[in-house]
Assembly symmetry: C2
């Protein structure tokens, strides 16, 4: 006789992935998103112009500088940053809605974004830092990617070193030596965090219903 | 070119499973132990006599009352309890050794044992509470198991209700409606907890080795 499945609702969670570029974060993010309909990538607000093929509300929310500043002032952004001449941020509304509906949101952001998120959404945050398996691997990836003059590569490496220096601000650390193991680890983190008591809703009532007749 | 696998050592963890009897905890424990050589069942000390086939040091450490009391007085037990006329406890030495060697230990104990463990080993503890999918399922399992007079069944149900009342002292909650899903959830919890930054050893040195050349 199959048991009637209990309907335990759950608050969503915010999964933050940070790493230096060249550690495999983008590949890991894509693999996680492709294999799990319960988690979606956070859509950022940006002041940069859409590139061909980019869709407003899907790739980014495209806004002008004035609108972006208003969002900052009104506290509508959970985190934001200026990167070169453009601004990028995470709209609070969409994130709060996802959490309330039990959907999880993936953030591919740097340590500064993660720190800002932590200030506002601490209890909902699950932070994972991805490390490369060695300095050699990281260097070769950074050099391969940049068909750039040496000083640009050097700047990129300095940025990577700065990002890595914040690894200890994350609850989980994955050393990405083997892609399949890393994906499995990331999936386990998501699955486990979904079973955290704090995220389950209505458990008190459920337990009362179980023990009423005992 | 395969990356050289980094050797990140890890401190073991203590996985505590609690539940009322009849919620499927024993089946879940066995499935977890059978599928993962990295976790082993805690071997208890007891004052009860060995049953035919039981091996000292494997099923239990068998000791007499006097020896047990000495272990309690010397603080050699992480938790202990008297159940009817016999004493049961968890020896500290074996657990500390496993943790230091990066092996995980599974505890199938009740809320009182879990509370005692938490006082002494808080940072190493991962607590999971298993709930039955409904009161009906729990009742029918308790009645099936007990070919006993009604008053004994009633006592068993009261004990189940008392155990369930402590669900909120556990970090994770699994509603065991479907055995395979519950096993998968339990495995994910173990896999994720093994990636917790706090349990990884030597990460600072590893990160320094990565960034030295950047």
């Amino acid at each position: 006789m199959p048991a009637k499945m209990p309907q335990i609702a759950r608050r969503g969670l915010l999964l933050v992935l940070s790493s230096p570029s060249g550690a495999g974060k983008t590949t890991l993010s894509r693999a996680l998103l492709a294999g799990d309909p319960g988690i979606e990538l956070s859509v950022s607000v940006t002041t940069r112009k859409p590139r061909p093929g980019e869709v407003d509300g899907k790739d980014y929310f495209f806004v002008d500088e004035k609108k972006f500043q208003r969002m900052v002032e009104k506290g509508e952004l959970l985190e934001w940053a200026r990167v070169f001449q453009h601004c990028y941020g995470t709209p609070r509304g969409a994130v709060e809605k996802a959490l309330a509906e039990g959907r999880d949101v993936l953030f591919d952001i740097d340590w500064q974004g993660a720190q800002q998120l932590a200030e506002k959404m601490a209890g909902d945050l699950v932070r994972v830092f991805i490390l490369p398996p060695s300095g050699k691997v990281l260097e070769s990836r950074l050099e391969t990617r940049a068909q750039d003059p040496p000083e640009v590569v050097a700047k990129r490496m300095a940025a990577a070193a700065a990002e890595i220096s914040h690894w200890a601000e994350y609850e989980y650390v994955i050393v990405n030596a083997d892609l399949l193991s890393s994906i499995a680890g990331l999936k386990s983190i998501l699955a486990a965090e979904r079973l955290k008591r704090d995220r389950l809703l209505g458990l008190s009532a459920f337990v009362r219903s179980i023990t009423r007749s005992l």
